[in-house]
Symmetry: C2
Amino acid sequence: MILSALDMLVPTHQTSGLWRHPEAVTEEYRDLDFWVSHVKLLEEAGFDTVFFADVAGVYDVYEGSGRTAIRTGMQYPLLDPLLLISALAAATEEIGFGVTANVSYESPFLLARKFATLDHLTRGRIAWNIVTGYQPSALRNIGADSLPHDERYDRADEYMEVVYALWEGSIEPGALRIDAAANTYLDPDRVHPINHRGKYFDVPGTAVTLPGPQRVPLLFQAGSSPRGMDFAARHAEVLFFAGTTPDNVRPLVDAAQGRAAAELSTITSVTLIAAGSDAAARERYESYLRHVDPEAAMALFAGWTGLDLSTYGPDDVLEEVHIEGNRSALQSFTAMDPGRRWTIGDLASHMTIGGRGPVFVGSGETIVEELERWMKEAGVDGFNVDYALRGPDMKAFAEHVTPVLRSRGLLRKRSGNTLRGRLHGRDLLPDTHPAATFRRG
Amino acid sequence: MILSALDMLVPTHQTSGLWRHPEAVTEEYRDLDFWVSHVKLLEEAGFDTVFFADVAGVYDVYEGSGRTAIRTGMQYPLLDPLLLISALAAATEEIGFGVTANVSYESPFLLARKFATLDHLTRGRIAWNIVTGYQPSALRNIGADSLPHDERYDRADEYMEVVYALWEGSIEPGALRIDAAANTYLDPDRVHPINHRGKYFDVPGTAVTLPGPQRVPLLFQAGSSPRGMDFAARHAEVLFFAGTTPDNVRPLVDAAQGRAAAELSTITSVTLIAAGSDAAARERYESYLRHVDPEAAMALFAGWTGLDLSTYGPDDVLEEVHIEGNRSALQSFTAMDPGRRWTIGDLASHMTIGGRGPVFVGSGETIVEELERWMKEAGVDGFNVDYALRGPDMKAFAEHVTPVLRSRGLLRKRSGNTLRGRLHGRDLLPDTHPAATFRRG
């Protein structure tokens, strides 16, 4: 079972209003010492990776402003997760680090240097969650172009060509000689300009960073639109889905596995609330429900989808609501439970804990049974595990869920030196992956 | 005395060819555990900051190609220093971190988020060395515009306006309420869009990261052209010079102090080779000289200045060499010692250890006397200390120089919680600094 811990450097992640819970420690998100000890806990609990989501803007669609997201701390403010990784790497030995970085925000040349840097500093434990960008509020401030959805993926495909060429094709394995007698530190005949000239990017030169142990970071992706799935099938090694039922996730998994260029693992989002018994877990869950804030959830929903439902009442039925704009995200919500007649209130309530994914509440045994059922029925290889309260729920996971996973032999043992090695048994991408076409020497 | 340790995430920094020295450990530059223990040593040795230089391209002017720089590992390959900082912060308590970041490489919105992130993660120990960009080899690959020298500074001035507005003017002090009863985590009335519309940047929105303990990172700068000095006088809190004699540095210091908008500290570059006695230090220095590589130095010089002197012989005199292009950098070299008739060979030889700065060789006593003489004669407040061999020379500093500095009361005691507090006695910029004009609330 692949176990990834899903998080974000924010006061509240996917649980709206829970900053008001008496056990919430909202400011831990900007405390380095907290993160170091928290990720050590995750490593001890058996997680293969910690996975950091990221955005670069305020959710400002709800009621046409960012006020609700700001007032409720809804994924705002936030820190840049790439900058946290070296501290986590220094304090741990095995856990991997998935970091979201958007191909619309900075040049492929600089992003390639960043991931190569982190591949060295983590000794091959870095993964990149490739996102192509939404959030006009971020793009406006960055000065980046807002492209139509499908063209965004065309540009992203070219972006990947550039970074693959820099990681795989510029500095050959064996270029590093360190030969004093020949006065050759690096062999210039084995260092190549990539000469990329494309529609979106011109990158003539050589990489400036030696490739790390994985050369290419492990590639995560979460696209679910047709063009997004096309991109994911070409590039991703780990695909991340969200849906409320196994039946809802299964077709996405099957479609992705049918088209993948290389070995593909799939994980799906779950929020876990564990305790020593089902009753104790239920009691904790009830205490969370007493603090949720549906309005904050609707601000998050509006930011994700571009749909402002603030003028509707909680009893209005979604199918009857006249919606302009991006319907696909809304459909992915209502499709979570196709037999159900969703009201705006249902949607807000569902979103308050765990975003689009399901919430499992119970003892370690109960939760592991649900996880095993999902693996079988949805066909996924593992989970991106979210929490309602960061510290308490992840401590409860370590205490109650980990021992059951361990006793059933579901935790992955260390294998290989890198994150790719741990998940797929090799340090480098296979020859079938498009990055391999850039290899030389 | 301000003590900064100058370094760069490269196999060889400012000592050409020394990767061939038997004590060189070239690959430590990409080893996280090395950096953690090295910076702990610097902290124990009394350094106020470690200062990371950075470039993003190959030095490809010498002989019209990057081959010499690549073959001799001349500041190539390299890692991104911003990504190392959190690991160093987690392992230390007091030392500050100066990081070079180029305003030509990425959007002010994203760079503001990065430094705000690091201000939190370091608890207010981050400094930014502002550079405006040279190296066409980097700009081409990034896809950034290559602007004329003076216009580069006009754009940089506007860039600073944007980041000041994001750090000082967007999220007011007191905006963070965390008030469950009022259902207000952040007060939206105290979070403001910056509405920046300028010649080079449009940034309408709010900052996405809460300001850290310093709000604005401590600002380092190193400009020495007239337009560069103008920029530095407006923005910098610590100015960094290089020159071979105190007489050469003094006019720069006086000119800067005369024009500074706020309290200004000045430091100058020195390379220190210490040992238990003058004779032992001299012997170590001689062993370094046996391994230097003047050709690598000329590749670095060409990269810095844009001047390819490869077609001249070592005995050709600089004044007689017909030079096209950028003369100012060359003049800053020959002006290092105005009475001297510089040959190409002199220049290459001078550049092999420590770049443009002087090299002090001796016992702790000898070195501290030279440092004190420089402070008095050049009028500087301290030093950016470079090494010939990273590990051995910095260990020798801690062993032989630190005790003398300590016994003479020259080391700074911890004062204030932030780097700015340590150097200038306050956490925030003073009201006289242009960033302060963006303050609200």
